[in-house]
């Protein structure tokens, strides 16, 4: 990381020229306000579109806020009732557990396959590397709505190509197999869509990190008789640790709030067995019209992710991203 010299901008003022000295002083005072003035518009907008809604989310979670209140533009304060309703709701516990398991599976698969593909990229010849990178970028660029639709088509129970291929390959009889009938295989496909879309970012970022690992270190270890597994564990992983921490936190944050993939795959009407946290909060708010209850679920979601965000930001501070 190239550490920029921490010289205040005023130092460039040619202070040695006496005639300009007084002006320099005045400019310096005025200049103190400049960064704040530059920041002001962005801060104002962020406060309006992010900070205030976040506050309102918290406030709503303590209110009875249904259709009537929506029309009246005012909720009724009910304290912790929404939270106690949720926490005593066995459905919420199910949804929470399902979301945790789903997130853990997706993040693990994304990180493992992403890293393996990155290691593979490092081994490939230049033509194959370019080809694979291009493929990864193509997948990365797919809009989520598009990705979901094309996966659903591939897994269509009647004319889907996957059922055809599996049957042809002799894996079993998959003719007219409906993958979404059972929510477990349904979630396997939804997870595949998520992981497929997330792998390119992880693979390309880890690969970029791999190119930063000093060759001398690897060669020295090889001379000392270390195998590839040992080199990966004792050299690559420690050096790439910040990247892994950052990518894992980001993946957790993204996968914990998966919404589009489930919603579109289930045609906008997911059955209860397909509820994840984001879906649950959405349905409680916009279908059942219990915005207060939905907000309480969302608050719990934000709170959970706040813990992950903490680790992410700590790593960013540690690698000096903040202080540059």
């Amino acid at each position: 990381m190239s550490q920029a010299p921490s010289v205040p901008p005023t130092i460039a003022e040619p202070a040695l020229v006496p005639a300009r000295r007084r002006r320099g002083l005045r400019v310096r005072v005025g200049r103190g306000a400049v960064p704040y003035l530059l920041l002001a518009p962005a801060v104002a907008v962020i406060a309006a579109v992010l900070a205030y809604p976040l506050y309102l989310l918290g406030a709503l979670s303590f209110q009875q806020y249904g259709l009537f209140e929506l029309i009246r533009h005012e909720g009724v304060w009910i304290g912790l009732d929404n939270y106690s309703t949720i926490l005593h709701d066995s459905q919420f516990v199910d949804v929470l557990l399902r979301t945790v398991v789903f997130t853990a599976a997706c993040v693990t698969l994304t990180m493992v396959f992403g890293t393996l593909i990155a290691l593979l990229l490092a081994q490939l010849g230049s033509v194959m590397r370019l080809l694979l990178t291009t493929g990864l970028v193509l997948v990365w660029a797919m809009p989520v709505v598009v990705a979901v639709n094309l996966w659903i088509w591939m897994f269509d129970f009647e004319f889907g190509v996957v059922n055809y291929l599996l049957t042809e390959l002799g894996v079993g009889d998959f003719i007219h197999h409906d993958w979404f009938e059972n929510s477990l295989t349904g979630f396997a496909i939804i997870g595949a869509i998520v992981v497929w879309g997330a792998i390119p970012f992880v693979a390309i970022t880890v690969f970029a990190g791999l190119t930063q690992v000093p060759k001398e270190l690897v060669e020295a270890a090889e001379l000392d008789g270390a195998g590839p597994g040992r080199i990966f564990r004792d050299i690559t992983v420690p050096i790439l640790k910040p990247i892994f921490v950052i990518l894992t936190s980001l993946s957790i944050i993204w996968d914990f709030q998966v919404f589009n993939q489930v919603w579109i795959a289930r045609g906008g009407q997911p059955a209860e067995e397909y509820f994840l946290m984001a879906i649950y909060a959405f349905v409680e708010s916009f279908r059942v019209q219990q915005y207060g209850l939905g907000s309480a679920i969302a608050v719990l979601m934000v709170a959970t992710l706040l813990v992950v965000t903490f680790f992410y930001i700590r790593e960013m501070v540690r690698i000096g991203e903040v202080e540059r």
Partner: protein, 275 residues
């Protein structure tokens, strides 16, 4: 010999990964060019024969296709322009000035990008309904600023940090004012970063689904992704036109993405893009 065998093995593995990853995209494009009888076949062919443009014609002639393209463009241009202008000023402050509270603000910008958008929909919807902005593009535009603006600030700051301070200082020693140095040195060097950030903001806005889905209820207000998602629910699914429409939706994103993904990769590590 063993070395060469290993090399071949690695490359074959690379090819296999490529095929598995790219196959879904290939299948989408291939389906888009197929005749209906080929699509509804129990023994699918991998390449369309004969290839047809009928699905594309069908897709673009559907009700509300063009209005949704126009709506998407309006939203994209408005959000990107607003965000880039505000973010440019803020990034300038963060990258080129030292002041009290700078580090705190940087942490804030990173943290704010981590707030789950899916959780914010509820209060944003309530606020917009109070302001009478539900089912209006302006409401969507304002809402999109929640994730595009912090992203742009963060990414542009990165690009500006990439411009060596010495260059500006040299210009000022040569008698340039700070503003002169800014216009003649910083701006041209940051320009590619501005373009890349704009394009990436474009992509994020173009792809967004839930907010537009919640806020825009009447069909003629739909953006392209909402229009595309409504495809499935209409009396069974017509896969050919759906795949053609999906291809059309992805096309501008892919084109732009290929242009900028290198420049933007570091910004992504910073948690810039939501999954």
């Amino acid at each position: 010999m063993k070395r060469r065998l290993r090399r071949v093995g690695v490359n074959v593995l690379g090819l296999a990964v490529f095929v598995v990853m790219v196959f879904p995209v290939f299948w989408m494009v291939s389906t888009a060019f197929k005749e209906p009888f080929e699509i509804l076949s129990f023994t699918p062919e991998f390449l369309p024969s004969p290839a047809t443009l009928a699905n594309f014609e069908n897709a673009v002639n559907r009700p509300n296709f063009w209005s949704s393209v126009v709506n998407s463009l309006i939203v994209v241009v408005a959000v990107t322009t607003l965000s880039i202008v505000l973010a440019f000023l803020a990034a300038l402050a963060l990258a080129k000035f030292r002041f009290r509270g700078r580090a705190a603000f940087v942490v804030l910008i990173i943290g704010v990008q981590m707030v789950p958008l899916n959780a914010l929909i509820i209060p944003l919807y309530i606020l917009l309904s109070r302001a009478g902005q539900v089912d209006k593009l302006t409401g969507v535009i304002v809402t999109y600023l929640t994730f595009v603006l912090p992203f742009c600030v963060w990414t542009l700051r990165g690009f500006m940090l990439g411009v060596p301070r010495e260059l500006e200082e040299a210009a000022m020693v040569d008698g340039s004012t700070r503003f002169g140095a800014f216009v003649r040195i910083l701006l041209p060097l940051v320009a590619p970063g501005l373009v890349a950030t704009s394009i990436f903001a474009f992509i994020q806005v173009w792809n967004e689904f839930i907010i537009a889905y919640v806020l825009l209820q009447s069909q003629e207000k739909h953006t392209l992704t909402v229009w595309l998602a409504s495809f499935t629910t209409l009396r069974g699914t017509e896969w050919g036109p759906l795949m053609a429409a999906a291809t059309l939706t992805a096309l501008p994103v892919v084109a732009f993405f290929v242009l900028v993904h290198r420049r933007i990769a570091f910004g992504l590590t910073a948690g810039a893009v939501r999954g």
